[in-house]
């Protein structure tokens, strides 16, 4: 039985094809999910891809959070459905309060697209179990609003519970504590600014295939479940 991973498309989502391709490359089945449907189609996990949902108008992720599909996804995520949000997906997860904190304008005030060195800090999640703790990887980042902020208490709790999933090596945007990605308390919901789906093939994307680990992790988790 193959693992079925849903890929959500909002108006303005851009990386949905890439995410679906990466999911297929890792051996799982990618199931398209449409923002306006009230239907998760019985998927085993959900990928919220990057892009500019609703043009990123108002605030990144602010309008998408209210999509009909999110009304299904939020309770399912609270009950343990594995969810990975990258870039805009991470922003949506924060706006939907599935993850704490917020993503704000890069300290440089510029959009930045580059191949970014990162350290995987938390390998206990369904999305990072293929990595070694402390493993260094290269993934592309491409965002204008990726500076992670949270109040001191939240930051302390994230650090104490090992909930920082990936950290920047060379902070590109001013994120507090160099945070590039975090997880929720249960560990099933993960948000990342970098794009693993753009680092899965030698021919295209970043000069690394380190992104594959996120997809093989979820496959391993679901098949072994």
């Amino acid at each position: 039985m193959s693992a079925r991973v849903g890929v959500v498309t909002f108006p303005g989502t851009l990386d949905d094809q890439d995410a679906a391709r990466a999911i297929r490359l890792s051996g799982a089945e990618a199931v398209p999910l449409w923002h306006a449907d009230h239907d998760l189609k019985g998927v085993d996990a959900v990928f919220l891809p990057g892009g500019f949902s609703y043009g990123d108008y108002l605030r990144c992720g602010a309008i998408s959070r209210f999509a009909p599909l999110m009304r299904e996804l939020v309770p399912a995520a609270r009950e343990g459905l594995p969810v990975l949000g990258t870039c805009n997906g991470f922003q949506i997860l924060c706006e939907a309060h599935l993850l704490p904190g917020a993503l704000t304008r890069n300290a440089s005030l510029h959009y930045v697209c580059r191949d970014q060195r990162l350290r995987v800090e938390s390998t206990g999640t369904p999305w990072t179990n293929s990595f070694e703790p402390g493993q260094e990887v290269v993934l592309p980042i491409k965002h204008g609003e990726g500076r992670y902020v949270a109040d001191a208490e939240t930051l302390a709790a994230l650090e104490a519970d090992n909930r920082v999933v990936v950290r920047y090596l060379g902070n590109p945007n001013g994120s507090l504590n160099d945070i590039a990605g975090i997880r929720n308390e249960a560990g099933n919901v993960v948000g990342l600014m970098p794009h693993p789906e753009h680092a899965v093939e030698n021919l295209v994307g970043a000069p690394s295939t380190d992104g594959l680990g996120f997809f093989t992790s979820i496959l391993k988790k679901l098949v072994n479940a």
């Binding site: 108006p11 303005g12 851009l14 990386d15 094809q17 890439d18 391709r21 892009g51 500019f52 609703y54 043009g55 990123d56 108008y57 510029h110 959009y111 930045v112 697209c113 580059r114 592309p140 491409k142 204008g144 794009h195 789906e197 753009h198 899965v200 093939e201 021919l203 295209v204 994307g205 970043a206």
Partner: protein, 582 residues
């Protein structure tokens, strides 16, 4: 004299009267003035551009040539590519961010209107000196505009140019290229055939944006423009454009579009006259049905508005409900505003009265054509006689090299390119720092047959060479873009070009233009690549001083197996280095 205010000459106005056999109404005058503006009618450049067709090399690859929204090239295995480069120079000087952003938006809609999925953009930029004050205002805004618009559409930026030269200080160049992909048998054209078919306006609503902009901004000397007459700046809505892209592709897939045209400069005037002229010949439009952002707009203003993110489609009555359902799915407003007729006249009504009744071809195709006088600039021989021999040889090569490497034109362009998303959609095989961008095509459209093919693109231009010798300068621009495509392993197939010049009313500028077009046409014949389309931008000057003549040339090539692409750079130690050529 309203016609003069609209930028029309007396003899042009007289011709309108002759065509109609009466005085034109205000709305008709609005249509003719924008359609016959330099920007839309190519009235000063046409006689020279013809060489691109008459001297064109034979090419089996050319599916759609010049004259349509963009040229289409056969790239094999049933696939076709469409590409074009266009300028948005003047708007980018007035409001750098929005000017550049809407430049990207406009060229992307041209590509969409051919039936293609836009798959990448490039940008060729020219600014004043890097240390000049206004460059600090213009450059960041332009880059941000291109970045915010292109990134938001999910179009990877796969290359371009940044050049600094004081000649561009009051007149930056923002040339945007877009490339799209489609199946060979799915080309769409701007035509309105079939009486009874419905005319649908879809996308954004119409506001006072850039009214008279095409004629005022791009077709006159810049300083002429009085502040009071300055049109409302066009503001882009990339999110709406992204919805339009996905909506159009779904409309094409459902086969509910008979003809389609984007609304760019000259907006509704251009779309209705061109669609009607290329179709059965007649169209009836009720202008009251055009959805307005500002309800106080008058019909003349609706006809001239350059509001962005709008398209016009011709749809069979039986397909209207399917068409509307797809628009609704993508949250794209769509309204039937008229229908195709066989009367041979474009008729428009407003509050029940007929306000336009013209033969559409007279506005779209039969604009004035000028044989502008030209002669070699007085200083040209002296300029050419001044060779580098007179320059002192540098004593300290190391210092000279460092100075060169640090000069703005050679320094890293990463400040610009890092603001562009080059990865989105995961088809980018080559982008910066490669000499040409390359995309694989097999993964672009869902359900497509597998192919190993890819396409490569490069843009080049050198205003300083062209200033010295516009004939050779244009050829060098082509040769460089051609080489940049060839070194990736791709076979160059076709050419697009954006010709940035000063005022055509200046015989010395016109000489530069005549020489450059002649040079480019000759070189295209020699290299065996046809020009498939492009854009002319005149009136690039500050006061009476024109910019360097700056033909920017884009070349598209195809590679049979993208996995065999050749990247830039020394890939391993110990490899031999060879120098080819003279």
């Amino acid at each position: 004299m309203p016609f003069a205010e609209l930028g029309m000459k007396q003899e042009e106005y007289d011709r309108v009267k002759e065509i109609l056999g009466r005085r034109p109404t205000g709305s008709e005058l609005a249509i003719y003035s924008v359609m016959w503006s330099e920007h839309c009618s190519y009235k000063s450049s046409k006689v020279h551009l013809r060489q691109f067709a008459t001297k064109a090399p034979k090419s089996d690859a050319l599916l759609v040539g010049m004259g349509e929204n963009a040229g289409v090239v056969d790239i094999g295995d049933g696939w076709a590519a469409t590409f074009k480069i266009e300028s948005h120079n003047h708007p980018s000087y007035v409001e750098p961010h929005q000017g550049a952003a809407t430049g990207v938006g406009g060229i992307v809609r041209d590509i969409m209107s051919m039936g293609a999925r836009p798959i990448a953009v490039m940008d060729a930029l020219r600014f004043g000196g890097a240390d000049q004050n206004d460059t600090r205002r213009v450059l960041p805004g332009v880059v941000e505009g291109i970045s915010s618009y292109g990134n938001c559409l999910g179009l990877p930026n796969i290359g371009g140019e940044v050049v600094f030269d004081p000649c561009y200080i009051g007149n930056p160049l923002v040339n945007a290229l877009c490339v799209g992909l489609l199946r060979k048998d799915q080309i769409k054209l701007a035509t309105a055939p079939g009486p009874g078919n419905k005319v649908v306006l879809f996308g954004a609503s119409t506001g006072p944006d850039g009214i008279g902009g095409a004629s005022v901004l791009a077709s006159a000397t810049f300083e002429d423009e009085s502040h009071a007459k300055r049109p409302a700046v066009q503001v882009g809505d990339p999110f709406m454009e992204k919805l339009l892209i996905e909506c159009c592709l779904e409309l094409y897939a459902a086969d509910v579009v008979v003809g389609i045209q984007d609304l760019g400069a000259a907006g509704v005037s251009c779309a209705t006259t061109e669609l009607a002229a290329k179709g059965t010949g007649g169209m009836h439009v009720d202008l009251n049905l055009v959805p307005l952002r500002d309800p106080s707009l008058k019909p003349e203003e609706i006809l001239m508005s350059e509001s962005q993110e709008r398209m016009m489609a011709v749809v069979r009555p039986s397909d209207i409900s399917a068409f509307m359902a797809i628009c609704q799915k993508w949250d794209v407003p769509a309204t039937v505003i008229g229908e195709v007729t066989d009367t041979g006249r474009l008729v428009m009504t407003w509050d029940g009265e007929t306000i336009v009744d013209i033969p559409p071809g007279t506005a779209a195709d039969d604009g004035p054509v000028y044989e502008r006088p030209f002669h070699e600039p007085a200083g040209q021989p002296a300029l050419n006689a001044d060779t580098p021999d007179r320059l002192e040889r540098p004593a300290d090569l190391r210092a000279t090299l460092l100075e060169l490497l640090g000069s703005p034109n050679l320094a890293s362009k990463e400040w610009v390119t890092s603001q562009y998303d080059r990865y989105v959609r995961s088809n980018t095989v080559l982008a910066q720092p490669a000499d040409a961008g390359m995309l694989r095509i097999s993964e672009i459209m869902a359900g497509a047959e597998p192919t190993t093919r890819g396409i490569a693109l490069a843009t080049d231009g050198n205003g300083r060479y062209a200033r010295l010798d516009p004939y050779a300068g244009a050829q060098l621009a082509l040769a460089e873009a051609y080489r940049n495509v060839a070194v990736t392993g791709a076979r160059p197939l076709a050419v697009t070009n954006c010709l940035n010049f000063g005022s055509p009313e200046d015989p010395e500028v016109m000489w530069q233009f005549a020489e450059a077009t002649r040079g480019l046409a000759d070189a295209c014949r020699t290299l065996g690549v046809p020009v498939t389309g492009g854009n002319v931008s005149f009136y690039n000057q500050t006061g009476s001083i024109p910019i360097h003549p700056t033909p920017v040339v884009g070349v598209l090539g195809v590679i049979d197996d993208v996995a065999k692409r050749v990247a830039t750079g020394f890939v391993a130690e110990g490899l031999r280095i060879a120098l080819l050529g003279e």
